[in-house]
Amino acid sequence: MPAKKLNLRKRYELLTRGMGWETTYQKMDDVFPYDSFEGIKITDWDKWEDPFRLTMDSYWKFQAEKEKKLYAVIDSFAQNNGQTNLACASYLSAIKLFITGVTPLEYGAHRGFAHLGRHFRGDGARIACQMQAIDELRHAQTQVHTISHYNKHFSGLHDPFHQFDRVWYLSVPKSFVEDAMSSGPFEFITSISFAFEYVLTNLLFVPFMSGAAYNGDMATVTFGFSAQSDESRHMTLGLEIIKFMLEQHEDNLPIIQRWMDKHFWRAYRLLALVAAMQDYMLTNSPMSWKEAWDVYFVENGGALFEDLSRYGLKMPKYHELATAESDHISHQVWSVFCSLGNATGFHTFLPTEEKMDWLSEKYPDTFDKYYRPRFEYWAEQKKAGTFEYQKGLPQLCQVCQIPMVFTEVQTDPMQISYRVTEHGGDKYHFCSDGCKDIFEFEPEKYVQAWLPVHQIYQGNCGGPTLPEVLDWYKFKPEDSGDYIGSKDYQRWQEWKGADKKVKQA
């Protein structure tokens, strides 16, 4: 008689218990040197449990199936010239920002989880982190493979990893992930798995991939949803690790609350780029940034923190401000990109009349009052040939590294929000109290920030002129500037025959 198949619980237990042991040749603290200095107290790693109870054999089986499905779609997309089915080639600005800003984040997360998969003392947690390390690498690879098809036809997609380490706006995601990677393992996992993946990742992937579906980008929908299926497991890991740490010792609560406050704010600031993508770069937007914020943060995040309140964990600091800002940030960030559009690796474009009407409808309290006049003024200038890009370089926030563009939305939405502090005789500037608090808790960390504008002025970025800096970024002249008139635009007109129609009319 064949042996009875073990149930899920038992199989998971066999995989994750008893694989580790108390070392005797070396001290445990020498074998696991990183998991105690942060002050997190763990009394029993066996209390750790992955609710999905995924075993290695199931993991490989399901991941292989996901890959087969994904690559079948990628092949058929390429064979059928799927790129011609996009709503508009200007949509690809979102994909350009994604491949340069998000894909390297996935790779950073891979490195971080590989580190945790070695350095957590508990075997169950190590295995979950090892799986996630493989997932994150898969995400980076599948994104590169999928988007490489667009690279055959469009500008600005040729060297994302080189650009991630250099370009002014890409230092925003880079500094976020490197802040987490240079922390201890518990802070890393709180940052990436909980603050980013559980609390905020739905805002990145769900509306964005749904947006790709809405704009005829089948390739992105497919890699996005393929990645997102892993993401659900990561979110669950994030929630479990938080509950686990909180249950292990009451001293852990204030540490976790501080990390939560910090990484919520950092991840939220990073998502300001996504807000602009969602409201402005997508030709057709399935939902506005504000709507997504209300559903995925206010409602869902609210339910999450209510659930965690039994441990004493509170909503992250400044979450009310983030909600108040949801009426503003997409417009503010897109304005920055448009005003510095000669230095971006993607094309910028002013919102069309149709888009502005949609924005008025979605942002009845703010768009017409504060932002429509700005875009209309620029449109008039472009028509008259008097529009000029900003000549100077913007001041950056020392922590999130975003240009100082956010405003005092709760008191005076037309007043730029500036904060300043002194450390070691130098002044440091911030976009918000959230970023200032983060600096003041660990100033020695953030005084070392690699701020792109400072680096340009210090002569470390290829030279003193814009063409030299862009060359150092490996931006080609056709990558930047207005979408209208660009190579992408011309190619799109050729495919769509729109020029012909215009001539006939």
Binding site: R9, M209, Y214, S229, M235, G302, A303, E306, D307
Partner: protein
């Protein structure tokens, strides 16, 4: 803790694999709200949402491993309780 039940949700890809699962959710969770959005289906309910293996198998006409859910999963919110027979999401 208030008596108000917070929303849990499960989002699946809008494809043929997910259809029998979505139908099972509708059958087993009569109060669930099912929203079709571009490329995806969002199922939400107050406090608790259940995916029952037996119901999915009846719709599908074959054996179904609960972990196959992973293949078409996009996102979820709530605490998970999974075993051979069910996949359940709830807030405490």
């Amino acid at each position: 803790m208030s008596n108000k039940k917070n929303t849990v949700f499960l989002i699946l890809q809008d494809n043929e694999d997910a259809r029998p699962i979505i139908e099972a959710v509708e059958q087993d969770n009569p109060d669930a709200n099912i929203q079709y959005q571009p490329g995806m289906v969002r199922m939400e309910a107050a406090g608790r949402l259940l995916v029952n293996r037996v119901t999915v198998e009846e719709n599908l006409g074959r054996e179904w491993d609960v972990q196959e859910l992973h293949l078409n999963l996009i996102s979820l919110a709530g605490n998970i309780d999974e075993d051979e027979d069910k996949f359940e999401i709830s807030w405490h």
